[in-house]
């Protein structure tokens, strides 16, 4: 089988899998990185949201063969290493506001939140209610209002 190499949470990794194997299963089943969750497998629920070169990506919809060796994948496990503190400000905001219920969607929610804050910062504007309405990540426990509050709190410290 072909070898694929890319950067994962700051390290170069190489895997021996088929081109079309989706990144989610490369992460979870081959590399044992289980922060990104399966919730639908068709890029709808967003539970697997991670970062590709700092932007939100859903590994369930990315064939590993589409990654370049220099592409940097960051999962929830690697998020804190992108800052100097023990936790990323968004994770800290999540703790401060006690956002998580069952926790299954939370890695994806946090990664989506960080990407959203970066995006609006690039657009030189503040987060709007419409931005928050536009987050598609499912939380079946329904902690949506705390997610919104935590994104605003986390954004203030990013």
């Amino acid at each position: 089988m072909p070898k694929h190499t890319f950067r994962l949470n700051g390290e170069q990794v190489t895997v021996d899998v088929a081109d079309e194997e989706r990144l989610l299963w490369v992460l979870r089943d081959v590399l044992g990185v289980t922060g990104p969750k399966y919730g639908c497998g068709i890029n709808v629920c967003k539970a697997c949201t991670s970062h590709l070169n700092g932007r939100a990506v859903n590994p369930c919809a990315v064939p590993v063969g589409a990654l370049k060796p220099t592409d940097e994948i960051t999962t929830i496990e690697g998020l804190a290493d992108t800052v100097d503190t023990d936790l990323h400000p968004m994770q800290q905001a999540w703790l401060d506001l006690d956002v998580a219920q069952c926790g299954y969607c939370q890695p994806g929610q946090i990664m989506a939140a960080v990407a959203l804050v970066r995006r609006v910062a690039e657009e030189n504007r503040d987060i709007t209610e419409a931005d928050l309405d536009g987050i598609r990540n499912i939380c079946r426990c329904g902690t949506y209002p705390r997610i919104r509050a935590a994104i605003r709190a986390g954004a203030a410290k990013m």
Binding site: L23, I42, R55, V57, A100, E129, D133, I138
Partner: protein, 770 residues
């Protein structure tokens, strides 16, 4: 070491301390300190001879669950370790409702250790607990509140005695704070250093006082979840995240109709030769594949060519089931001679899928089996799996894992049973995952139901209330059935069937509406059903509250005032008044928008909800890709009274989730049954509340405790939320909604094919990076 079973036994208070209550616990023989108590507190179960029209005031579901455990419950153990930590294996399932946090708080309170030093894990199936390892009916804190504290208090007592010897001071002179015992001399010793000395060499009974409420410093104060750090760092492990040796991914190719059966497979060998595939076996529910990755499983499932036999709902659709329900309706009786209002309501099938799909790990060997899954009824699961595998119950170990949501789904163990069958047939360990499409189409659903309500009145007086609820049969075969059977003789409901018993025990009537009768009838066992969060109450309450609004309109009264004056209970009235005040009931609002208010009582608790809704076209038609927008709840005010609140922050979280469920049940989420299968196969088909449906303004008020006893919370808020949204919608549009969810007649998505049963994995993820 067992006492007579009424445990933790409460001793008569000492003569000098009226109201002081002593409880009996145990110290168990062990190298370090292990304190224990029996799980079930003395029941409030009640004399059946008290005349009351309200059975739920006499005895509700929680009392039955609590009472059922009395003669049989085993011990729960609080252990103190040499590193100064305290551990406790909770015989319940944590599925997001947050029960591990208040459990830690109870121990921290009674033992005077920091919450962070208490580790609560989930116990494996413990058959000796019989009925007492069922997580449901919002019963956990109600049933563990006293026993957990008793065990912790026994531990505290033993630690102080050991410290007394160590520090050379009388027990009464010692203080225990933050896990450290201090003598009057200032000398200190940590509980970790005492863990061995405080241990018992043989099991002994111990009698303890519990800390009085006025001295609580942990219980009743907001506490963040004990598993929050693990959740936000990705370290929290769910079933699919566990690394069990050789448990390779497995999925099942499922039939195109509900409970269809597999026939011949045309290309078994071809699929067995696909990349990564190790096994393909026909099982009772379909054709299972085991492979190196779930991606390879998806490809193999999609490649299988299976001849399918009919299922248990062949040819059925929403309309045909509705017709069955009408035919099964119990009669309302003759119309009253007085004026009355009457309504009929229909509730679609709904999915209780959690975000974590059905999943389980199974390692079945010839002589034993080991199962990992999030299970709310692990003992029933263990017994059923053992029977299927033809193994003795004791040869089957069932580990209860952290669950990624339940909403009723994890009362059942469909994936665990299936994983066991696959592991047995392949002779290898498997990690089974249902695809989302499987979970939506073959997973359990809350049954379709109809409710008819008639309220008779004369002037301002309500004379009678009748409700006839007719439902597709709800499967209660997860342990509650066994519990009711055992308790049947003691229940004041005669020999009614389980479902009717459950219905009568869970449905309250908070209003003084004269003679009232509420009855359930069920039909059609052909569907995979299970109760969804709050079981019958959301539909039953929604129908009732809409009819209260109609009565108010008919008699020219304000909906809030009518409710307030009709309530029989002070706690309910206080909660209703609180939301009316905080939500500014009756304020002037633009056309197309309105307020709605509703109330529900259950689990020894009260919930009132006021919402505002916007049904104006510019809101209803706001665009969202592949989503349902529709009316938006713009504001919600929730008041909750669960009696004694252990963790207000956790309670608010549960009310928030319940509100989101209620919004979905009224506005957006239902399953469409067509020709023997559900059309929904994705979260963009089944429209649970999404960010664009959430209320921008939300206030959740925890009412002061007036009872001193904890009530249930995990499901409490769904019914009043659903009803308040429905009432608001009716008042905003001028038309009372009668079919739920209100968008059910519009199909807002293109159904995915049923063969192959699961969609292909997309490849365009890089096009959507943002």
């Amino acid at each position: 070491m067992r006492n007579d079973g009424t445990a933790p036994r409460e001793e008569p208070g000492p003569p000098d301390g009226p109201g002081r209550r002593r409880f009996l616990g145990y110290v168990l023989a062990a190298p370090t300190l292990v304190a224990a108590a029996e799980l079930a507190p003395a029941s409030r179960a009640a004399a059946a001879d008290i005349p009351s029209p309200e059975i739920t005031e006499l005895l509700d579901l929680n009392d039955v669950m609590t009472a059922a455990a009395l003669p049989t419950s085993g011990l729960i153990r609080v252990e103190v370790h040499e590193d100064g930590t305290v551990s406790f294996a909770l015989p319940r399932a944590e599925v997001g409702q947050g029960i591990t946090t208040p459990t830690s708080m109870l121990i921290a309170e009674e033992l005077d250790v920091p919450v962070e030093r208490v580790r609560v894990t989930l116990a494996d199936a413990r058959p000796e607990l019989l009925f007492n390892q069922l997580t449901g009916a919002s019963n956990t804190t109600i049933s563990t509140y006293t026993p957990v504290r008793v065990a912790a208090a026994v531990a505290r007592q033993r630690l102080l005695r050991a410290a007394s010897a160590e520090l050379g001071a009388a027990v009464g002179e010692l203080t225990l704070r933050a896990g450290v015992v201090t003598a009057p001399t200032g000398r200190t010793v940590g509980i970790g250093a005492l863990a061995r000395q405080a241990a018992a060499s043989r099991t002994e009974q111990a009698s303890v006082d519990l800390k009085p409420r006025e001295r609580f410093t942990v219980i009743g104060r907001p506490q963040n979840r004990v598993d929050a750090l693990a959740a936000v760092t990705g370290r929290k492990k769910f079933t699919l995240d566990l690394d069990v040796p050789d448990a390779r991914p497995a999925m099942v190719c499922r039939p195109p109709t509900i409970n269809g059966r597999p026939g011949a497979v045309a290309n078994l060998d071809e699929v067995r030769a696909m990349p990564g595939v190790t096994d393909v076996v026909v099982i009772s529910t379909g054709v299972a594949v085991r492979a190196g990755t779930f991606g390879q499983c998806v490809d193999a499932v999609r490649a299988l060519r299976v001849a399918w036999k009919p299922g248990t709902a062949e040819g059925k659709s929403d309309a045909s089931v509705q017709k069955q329900l009408r035919a099964a309706e119990l009669p309302m009786g003759l119309p009253p001679l007085t004026p009355s209002v009457e309504g009929e309501f229909t509730f679609a099938f709904r999915s209780n899928s959690a975000l974590e799909p059905n999943c389980a790990i199974a390692d079945v060997r010839p002589d034993r089996a080991e199962i990992w899954s999030s299970l709310k009824s692990p003992i029933v699961a263990q017994q059923t799996i053992a029977a299927q595998l033809r193994l003795p119950v004791g040869a089957v170990t069932v580990h209860v894992t952290e669950g990624g949501g339940s909403f009723g789904r994890k009362l059942f163990f469909d994936a665990a049973l299936e994983a066991a069958e696959i592991s047995q047939k392949t002779g290898k360990p498997v990690k089974l995952m249902w695809h989302r499409a499987d979970d939506a189409r073959q997973g359990r659903a809350h049954p379709m139901a109809r409710s008819r309500v008639r309220i008779a009145y004369a002037g301002d007086t309500v004379l009678g209330y009748k409700q006839r609820h007719t439902s597709v049969a709800t499967d209660l075969g997860h342990g509650l059935g066994e519990l009711f059977t055992a308790m049947a003789a003691q229940l004041p409901v005669g020999d009614a069937a389980f479902a009717q018993t459950f219905f009568q025990l869970s449905q309250s009537m908070p209003y003084d509406f004269g003679a009232n009768s509420r009855l359930l009838n069920e039909t059609d066992k052909g569907f995979n059903t299970g109760s969804m969060r709050n079981v019958y109450s959301p539909d039953v309450t929604c129908a009732r509250e809409l009819m209260v609004d109609r009565l108010a309109a008919r008699t020219g009264r304000d909906p809030y005032e009518l409710r307030r004056r009709s309530l029989r209970d002070d706690r309910a009235r206080a909660a209703l008044e609180k939301v009316a005040e905080a939500g500014d009931w009756g304020r002037s609002m633009p056309a197309g928008t309105a307020q709605g208010i509703a109330l529900h009582t259950e689990y020894h608790a009260v919930n009132a909800v006021l919402v505002e809704i916007d049904c104006r076209p510019e809101t209803v038609n706001r665009p969202v890709r592949d989503g349902v927008t529709g009316p938006r709840v713009t504001k919600a005010v929730v008041a909750v009274d669960v009696g004694l609140t252990v963790n207000p922050r956790g309670l608010q979280a549960q009310m928030m989730g319940c509100l989101m469920d209620g919004i979905a049940l009224t506005l957006t989420s239902g399953l469409h049954l067509r020709d023997g299968h559900f059309l929904e196969a994705s979260w963009d088909n089944y429209f649970y509340t999404r960010q664009w449906n959430t209320p921008p303004e939300l206030e959740i008020i925890v009412m002061p405790d007036t009872t001193g006893k904890p009530g249930g919370a995990g499901e409490l808020g769904v019914a009043a939320s659903m009803a308040a949204v429905a009432c608001a919608y009716g008042r905003a549009t001028g038309t009372m909604p009668t079919s739920f969810p209100i968008n059910h007649d519009t199909l807002s998505f293109t159904p995915k094919p049923t063969v192959p049963p699961i969609p292909a994995s997309p490849t365009d993820g890089l096009d959507h990076v943002r």
